[in-house]
Symmetry: C2
Subunit: 499 residues, 2 copies
């Protein structure tokens, strides 16, 4: 078995790598497991240094990495130049979050009269299996959010390389191994496997304590089901994505032409291959939204290239299914029939056809959107209830003055998604303390977590309480003297880190 | 269908209640769902007042409640008097945790140049289904930890009453409904169902957003599987329990006689019906641990009464299975054959028989323990690796001076359990900021959460990020003016609540 990547622009083969054998995976698991205690015991500042070392190497080798990535993804130099720098920044961010130490949630109940002396602290889970996505070769690749957050939290990482960019994956893995070694991280703290069977072996392995996945619903659910059959079930954090809605109020629809242009810019970004791509616009009756979006798409006239032959095929198949489910084509810009090209399309449907179970409510990954018009706020709110929960939603409302529709819509959307954007687009999720990239099932497998932002570390730790344990036996981060200078709660009082 | 409770002292029937019908459950679900927005929008201080109102009523009616509980559980007035007061205190604690507001994790990235303005805040999930336990009619009953934590977090609660104390459950539900109504909580914020079918209906209902369960492994796994078959899978927080080990070091074994007496006190508490009951003692070779524990048990000479006929039968069946798996009986104090009586027993086995898959590693809920002796630290550490992860563990070590065995044992135990106690017993888990009552699979279904202590609220919220949302449209708790005076992180800096 081998993994082969292709040039999406031509469909010609780029790189081939052998799949990792069962015994090689066992060896990697053994090494990850053997390193787990030392990775966990490194200070948060040491782990920050490891991550900075990776980020430095990534920036130093950016040109070479981008060249490889561009050949395997067709995403273009400009986008990839930005993505690699963004990835280096996010890797450092996770290191900073580790060093800041809030993620440890150190809580000391020091034992008032008659109470237990309890010290609670988050401990790393152990080796984590990471499944990267095709659509962000850097940001969600071998050294993407999940890998950085797991290392920051003190867990060794084993990544399953994405076949779509197998040459880049190998280059990133080499880079990480060298950078980690130079920064003093234990051997075994990072490894990579190739091939589907190797990935499944990771999810089944007793050594693995959690799985992080970004990709399709079918892929995420498959891993989740495999974990649920384990002797010891482990958390599977699958970020799968659904349809992200854009809701336009009457007051928000005053300049529908500009809105249509911006919407097209958002849903064609990266050929629509964003988990935050807006896939459904709900606009007021009479706004002529579908025609204007179609017209803006014709003006842009994109020639979308997809990351893989499979995705290109899914776009074409998705269009067939959406039409079968009652959508009408407003515009479809032809497939150029070169490499992994696919059409971009604007479809329209009656809002009444957005009923539970309809294909219209399911994602079509790629530059395809559905536009529906609503006649009343009640009709709009009812339609929103039928949508699958999603990662993100946009509300386009009045930019000045009151908008009577907005508060109820914001409330409803916030019940169904992980992030609501007002007068902006869901594509692009910055990596910061306040980010939330997640959402209720089936947009993710776990509504309480995020795969972007500071809280991403929380997926890879679990709290342990130490009762009446002598202070010198506690993990250093939880000791009374606070050697790592982390924020903590002492006898119920939250105390930021001293300066 | 009806639910019937019995007097464990005699086996005679106490109370019978009709099972809640399918249409009655649908009605309760509709009411819970209709109340969800108002429960969520109540201020944390208002929810604290609701919980205080319940606690006040519980204390006021303590005598009556204890009398009912004693007839249905046989746990005795002294224990139940304490338990009802402890429950009132824990209910108030969850109210205080809500009002303190850290659980909201308010995070404001106010948008430095070129960055997104993101405000992240935890929002209540919606209606929660709670399955109480038999063994703590108050602490984990209809108004136990899960109910209080969910209400504190802003979620309506529907409880499935435990048949073992059906009369008490009805009394507690009436009490809660009156107290909530008097305190101004919305109608529908609390409800109760009776019967297994009604419980399953809750777990399958689209209106329910999370399930909290405390009880047996078979019961917890059954609910977890039902949820996994839903169209929209929801979190099932099942606290199931396994075997909690007690590890005695050489230096900790100096007064084995006293230790044996204390161990017996711990594992016979509540007839051994604690999820934190220590079920396995690992003591040094030559400490004569098994004989001394047996002797202490004979001195105490308990006559255990179990909560249900089913549990009494399981204890007897468990003893058969443990012997079949290679355990030898050191002492077994006879079943008195009255009501739901069962034997108390000390068994012994070779440490080499603690191999993965052995029945010896599985829980026997009740006053039954297994004692094994180890010859070396290596043998001990290897045996620990084979144990099922558990809620708690005790390490009995030197009380003064160094103990060369202790650090490695503490490290190993902390990797397998939710709470480690040094020189104390796992039974009894105080409800405080630093508590952690959880553990890796299969002791619970989710290693990252706790069902006791301040962090118990976290199970019933999920983060939502608001991007570029006008401040007045945000949930009040996240607004710039901080109207509820909660701790928060602003532009990366953690800030406790102003005084």
């Amino acid at each position: 078995m081998t993994a082969t990547s292709f040039d999406p622009r031509t469909g010609t083969q780029i790189s081939t790598a052998p799949a990792t054998s069962e015994s090689e995976v066992r060896d990697l698991l053994k090494r990850a497991s053997a390193s787990a205690e030392r990775v966990a015991q490194a200070t948060p500042a040491q782990r920050r240094d490891w991550l900075y070392s990776i980020a430095d190497a990534m920036e130093f080798q950016a040109d070479e990495l981008v060249a490889i990535a561009d050949r395997e993804t067709g995403l273009g130099r400009a986008r990839l130049d930005g993505e690699v720098l963004r990835t280096a920044a996010q890797i450092r961010f996770y290191g900073d979050v580790a060093a800041e130490g809030s993620y440890l949630s150190v809580t000391r109940d020091e034992g008032a009269a008659g109470t237990d002396r309890l010290v609670r602290v988050n401990r790393p889970l152990g080796p984590v299996a990471v499944f990267g996505a095709s659509n962000f070769p850097f940001v969600f690749g071998v050294l993407g959010h999940d890998t950085s957050a797991a290392l920051a939290a003190g867990c060794p990482v084993l990544v399953k390389a994405h076949t779509a960019h197998i040459a880049l994956s190998h280059r990133l893995a080499e880079l990480a191994q060298t950078a980690l070694s130079e920064a003093g991280a234990p051997e075994g703290s990072f490894g990579m496997v190739v091939g589907r069977a190797a990935g499944v072996q990771l999810v089944k392995a007793p050594e693995v304590t959690a799985v992080a996945f970004t990709g399709s619903q079918s892929g995420g659910l498959a891993l989740w089901r495999i974990s649920n059959e384990r002797d010891r079930v482990i958390p599977v954090y699958a970020e799968m994505g659904t349809v992200n809605p854009v809701v336009v109020t009457e007051a928000g629809a005053t300049d529908m032409q500009q809105l249509a242009k911006d919407f097209v810019g958002s849903f064609t970004l990266g050929s629509g291959q964003y988990c935050t791509k807006p896939g459904l616009m709900l606009a007021p009756f009479g706004s002529d939204a579908a025609a204007r979006v179609a017209s803006a798409l014709e003006t842009l006239d994109p020639r979308p290239l997809m990351l893989t032959e499979g995705i290109a095929g899914s776009v074409k198949q998705g269009l067939v299914e959406l039409r079968h489910a009652g959508a009408r084509t407003v515009v479809e810009l032809g497939d150029v029939n070169v490499g992994w090209s696919a059409p971009a399309a604007v479809l329209q449907a009656d809002i009444s056809s957005l009923s539970p179970g309809s294909r219209l409510l399911e994602e079509c990954f790629g530059p395809v959107v559905l536009v529906c018009e609503y006649s009343s706020q009640d009709e709009l709110l009812a339609a929103l209830t039928n949508l699958q929960p999603s990662l993100a939603a946009s509300l386009i409302a009045a930019t000045e003055g009151a908008d009577p529709q907005a508060p109820a819509l914001l409330q409803r959307l916030s019940e169904q998604v992980g992030r609501v954007v007002v007068n902006g687009w869901p594509t692009g999720a910055s990596c910061s303390w306040g980010q939330q990239h997640g959402g209720p099932w089936p947009s993710t497998s776990n509504p309480g977590v995020t795969s972007i932002g500071a809280a991403a570390l929380n997926r890879f730790v679990r709290p342990v309480a130490f009762q009446d344990v002598p202070d010198e036996w506690l993990p250093p981060e939880a000791q009374q003297t606070n050697p790592y200078n982390v924020p903590r709660r002492v006898n119920g009082i939250l105390t930021p880190a001293p300066n």
